[in-house]
Symmetry: C2
Subunit: 163 residues, 2 copies
DNA sequence: GATATATCATTGAGCGTTCAACTACTGTAG
DNA sequence: CTACAGTAGTTGAACGCTCAATGATATATC
């Protein structure tokens, strides 16, 4: 059990900041997810998988690496790749040199779907986040995010490095 | 269809900010959710329901208002309240004056569960977010969040409720 | 070389969310 | 009063995620 000593409750300002962040981040992510589902027929999490694969050499990545870079559990990724395989956007390939492992590889069809979805998504990210903020705010947001990521990496481990 | 003109892709800095925010917010929310599940046996979303009810007069709120203040769909809330009722933490009461409506009411047992969960949760929010940031950063985060929230309220309409 | 331990990935069950009906009621217009 | 559109809330199916268990292979230890 944590919190052996007295709890330091949030003061009014902290409370307000925390709730604003909670609502805003959820709302933003939900909006982008709905847009992705509507425009590309896949959840945003799957889009991210395709993006990572498209950026990798040979459009292929070990399942573990992929999971690590997405901060996703292996189980989740495995289920997701199964789905993406059924859609014909990704295939699995066995891994030479380590027979436990496997690669996920982006297909041409998967690349085409990604290329079709990307402009709309970027437009959404701009419209709902980037263009709403002053340049300084965007930098602040990055710094804040990186602080939080570094902290959680230390706490939970998981070696998910900040890109 | 959106994006009739050329897409304004993200430059390197924008990309980095966006991805850092995406990873950090997801990781933070996931961590707090796991802690809540482990310590209180419920997802963070359900905790938020109990919090809103605890703050309401008579610890009761119309389903719609509750959904609105949580930015949750009615369907989601309905399923959630069904679960919370099964746990004995919430009950439904019919709404006098509008026979379509119903109230969700926090039970004493629900209040006790909430009171037991709150210190650990606040400690987590502090440890993973608030205490990681300089005071100015927390204010920045609030401003950024409020900008995004205002924008999305204008776009999706829904002064609170997600369709 | 044999045994133990760790790692890579998958599977199935259970849960929460979404989406699209659907019911039941309210308010308004003719 | 009737008809009709709008609102409040619920439901069930489909889907994605979590968690714990499992199989298969690799690595370390003796």
């Amino acid at each position: 059990m944590r919190n052996v000593s007295e709890t330091r409750w949030l003061d009014e300002g902290e409370q307000r900041s925390w709730r604003a962040f909670l609502l805003a981040s959820r709302r933003l992510l939900d909006t982008l997810d709905r847009e992705m589902q509507r425009d590309a027929g896949m959840p945003h999490a799957y889009y991210e998988i395709l993006v990572r694969l498209s950026e990798a050499p040979d459009r292929a990545l070990r399942m573990s690496e992929l999971a690590g870079s997405l901060l996703s559990s292996r189980s989740r990724l495995s289920h997701a790749v199964t789905r993406l395989e059924e859609s014909g956007w990704v295939v699995r390939r066995s891994c030479p040199g380590d027979r436990r492992g496997s690669f996920a590889v982006l297909t041409d069809q998967g690349y085409a779907v990604l290329a079709a979805a990307a402009p709309g998504h970027v437009t959404g990210v701009r419209a709902h986040l980037i263009d709403q903020l002053a340049p300084g705010q965007l930098d602040q947001l990055r710094e804040i995010s990186e602080v939080v990521l570094r902290h959680l990496d230390e706490v939970d481990g998981s070696a998910g490095a900040v890109p």
